[in-house]
Symmetry: C2
Subunit: 339 residues, 2 copies
């Protein structure tokens, strides 16, 4: 990585520039076998058991948006990172960075949202920290959460997808692009009226039921920054298989599709905060799908495609009009400060 | 807490306003028995063992200062919070929030410092996250770390001080006020020339030797935000004993004393980043002191006072000139963005 340059917004997009920064600076110097796995949660051995451990910072703008606020994101983001690693989320830490002058009533609203989500997800917020910076030195409030979960041995590799094979089916638990477009629409400068709500939700209870219903989910990842497209292109990157997705099977709400067209975004790459991508064996696919559909967060779940022998290391979208296009890794910035 | 008001810088000082915010908003809504302990690290039961778990965000201004940088702080702060809880620090998470335009070479310097400190402390950075915010929306770089450590059962109460009793001795591992004054002197607007260096250091190896040399350290806390004065006033707050400290036994360097006088600060309340306060039984005091003095970070360690039957719930300073004054809890802001 060229360290004479400066940080760009795209370095936080979850796409190619993010990967360059992570590989060129962070994993280069922090190098160790656990970090090198680079999955949603680190797998750490303690007392001869494995725990999942993860962290995320939240800088979303605006901090309140239809369907949630920065506090909901901070709980769901970390709970989901643990859950998609096959872990039962147990404990969270919370670090607040708050701008001088921030209304305490807004802080309390955010904290109440966090407390309610944590309770529903069955996790405890056990430790925290607060820093205040002078006016103008941060944008209202930033929140970091980290989380610890208990990991079942059979899910040690679910984050890497190492068990994925041709013929496996790809499931997502509903529509894509809602979170990103809800936040974009809520930005004052755009002055857009829509009915889009963020899909922000803690998915651990849904995921736990899906894993119980299955013989073994082979891969799980939440489709946050970088969207579904990034999850799929990362999954095939170093693999010996391809991915084939049917555009017809993807759910994109009319409002999300419309706003994406207006603003020039591709829903495939727009952030979600309540969507998990699963890969399961063909035999398992319907059982898992039915289990997911029982959850309030999975009613629109569908099998969107499959793992194929062909086109190794590439993810393809079969478009509604009968064409095909490669789902590339997002290069550069798409939506800054979406979470 | 009056939630019609706004956040003040003092809410992050580590003093009384911080306590009001924590009690009035955070513990009120996040309420659970683990969080309610309010010690440096949460004690979490997992797989029938106890772990220590903690988090801190770092927003120091400037990010580079004599004796260290924000990266050194981010490692030492969390490692020390685990160590003073009686835990062996094992794993850290790191979350970066970076301003667009931040020089990648500065980021690399910070990351290299973190990697070196983590290695020396014997901890692994196993998971991380990076967010980039647009120019002007944060001040260069903020870092959050969280950490997990293994806890020996005999140190379950070392953070609360519940075993402390009259006659016990109070030890600190060296001079006070260095970190806070090094950062203040480094602020450009002050244009001050001093030789003060931050004491920022990972103390876990020193603490581990001290605990091995002792029959049981009764209380440990690192004297960071709010300084030594805050640690002492918090320790006696809900107790049935008092504290008596001899000003003569406190080490304050000439440069720190001078700058404190110039700027109107009391070294007792100035932040340290490499100082731990320990309470040990009289029988143990000399053994522990000798063990600490063997560490490069404890050469100037001394017994600074003792726990007394008198003046319950108050900490007293016996001044060099023969007077006495109460060491109160810091009210309001002292030094914003010191860590």
């Amino acid at each position: 990585m060229d360290n004479t340059k400066n940080i760009l917004l795209g370095h936080g997009s979850g796409g190619k520039l993010s990967h360059d920064l992570i590989d060129g600076i962070f994993t280069k110097h922090f190098k160790n076998p656990i970090l090198d796995q680079q999955s949603d949660s680190a797998i750490i051995p303690i007392n001869s058991k494995n725990l999942a451990y993860t962290t995320d910072s939240f800088v979303v703008d605006p901090i309140f948006f239809p369907g949630g606020n920065i506090g909901n994101l901070a709980i769901a983001g970390t709970v989901n990172d643990l859950a998609v690693s096959g872990a039962k989320p147990l404990y969270l830490s919370v670090g607040f960075i708050i701008e001088e002058g921030f209304p305490i009533c807004d802080l309390e609203k955010i904290v109440v949202s966090m407390a309610m989500d944590a309770q529903e997800a069955g996790v405890k917020i056990v430790t925290g920290d607060t820093k205040i910076v002078d006016r103008g030195k941060c944008d209202k409030i930033f929140i970091n959460t980290s989380g610890i979960g208990e990991l079942e041995d059979k899910y040690l590799n679910v984050g890497s997808g190492s068990g994925v094979a041709p013929g496996d089916k790809i499931i997502i638990n509903g529509s894509i692009g809602d979170h990103g477009m809800a936040v974009m629409a809520a930005r004052n400068e755009l002055n857009i009226q829509t009915h889009i709500e963020s899909d922000c939700a803690c998915l651990n209870n849904m995921i736990s039921k899906a894993t119980s219903s299955s013989n073994g989910i082979k891969f799980m990842r939440d489709a946050t920054r970088g969207g579904l497209g990034t999850v799929l292109s990362e999954l095939v990157k170093d693999s010996d298989y391809g991915i084939s997705i049917d555009e017809d099977k993807l759910t994109v709400s009319e409002s999300v599709r419309g706003l994406c067209e207006l603003l020039g975004f591709d829903p495939l790459y727009v952030a979600n905060e309540g969507k998990v991508v699963m890969v399961v064996s063909e035999d398992d696919a319907n059982k898992v799908l039915e289990s997911i559909k029982e959850s309030p967060f999975g009613k629109e779940a569908s099998i969107i495609g499959e793992i194929s022998k062909d086109h190794q290391r590439m993810a393809w979208l079969n478009t509604s009009v009968g064409g095909r296009r490669v789902i590339e890794m997002l290069s550069g910035q798409q939506l800054p400060r979406i979470c």
